[in-house]
Symmetry: C2
Subunit: 234 residues, 2 copies
Amino acid sequence: MNCIIASTSTVYGSDYLEYLQAPLKELFRDAQQILFIPFARPGGITHEVYTQKAREGLAFLNKEVVGLHQTENYKEAIKNAKAIFTGGGNTFVLVNQLYKNDLLHVLHNRIKDDVAYLGTSAGSNICGKTMHTTNDMPIVYPPGFETLGILDFNINPHYLDPDPTSKHKGETRQTRIEEFHTYNQTAVVGLREGSWLQVSKNNIILKGDLSARIFRTSQEPYEMEPGASLKNLR
Amino acid sequence: MNCIIASTSTVYGSDYLEYLQAPLKELFRDAQQILFIPFARPGGITHEVYTQKAREGLAFLNKEVVGLHQTENYKEAIKNAKAIFTGGGNTFVLVNQLYKNDLLHVLHNRIKDDVAYLGTSAGSNICGKTMHTTNDMPIVYPPGFETLGILDFNINPHYLDPDPTSKHKGETRQTRIEEFHTYNQTAVVGLREGSWLQVSKNNIILKGDLSARIFRTSQEPYEMEPGASLKNLR
């Protein structure tokens, strides 16, 4: 495996994908073309507009970026791709499209094999066992919540620490993830904006400047520092 | 109909249900007993613990509070209730239990008839046409997202205005609701904490000190002031 699984596409004060330029040069080094999966449609934008945004964000690589929606046969396009990027947006919308086009299995196999894969936000969420720990609004009803299972745990992207000054009574992110553990055993990685997981054949390393918050049913939540391995987390 | 559909059970700096004491005295005036639906399990607490919390929050009324989980036949208990309170928590968990016990129809009929109904947060969400606009994490997979349809629109409880100082790149609430409108026509009421809808046979009135934010597919989001009627919103 050869993946970057990132909390967000964009960090505060910088452009789309800018903070990931160095690792993306390495990730996509051997690919001539990058297949972009635009199904998550952030803000409801079209597949075409979203693919153009990805194309501009990846322009520093000087590679061709092709939207999956432009291809004649989605399964074949994924099977033949050397590099794939699934962009963020709404995880329910993304997963719904992957189910309806029967793409979960083929995408899983390509990532488990040798494709260079970039996921951001919703595109990272789907690398976990399920999408039960997305932050997104359930604006469509997908056929299931099981996702790619590239990782043996779940991702919570855009992880946010509780704001001690808040007067809002809605649940904190930590409370939500702890509620998840009332019904599920799967470990959850709260991945803060600016963090990513570097997945290779033999390891999963936390990258970026920030620690990640780890939630397991058997113990109190704890922090994991950059450079640490998550390969045994489940 | 005779309902209070509230954004939250608790506002900052006050106790559980305290800010609703005056309208609840009126709502539950004629009931000897209140049937509490504890299925949303906030923080994963048990039905028993949650019912005790509701009992304590409603103690000022001097009525008996019975948890639905304590009754032998859920459908009969709802059919025979004169007053029902559905507490907040996780909307996916609540809706899942309502589907699995086949209670949506009987609850809908009792509310449309003459039961005095209180909903807070998740218990208000289910009064809309669907749960597509919940803020909750999808920690379980319910058989569907259709809900009671007591209202001709959807509720977004705990509505939060964007924080202009935030460095977080996750979606704002408004962005999420606008994404919902890419796939759905249903109007959405962003109900701020401290606001509630007073539903009677002939009207739906916004109550509390704050305005509500209204989202429709056909126009820009706008504010509706306390005292305004939402009976024609759809």
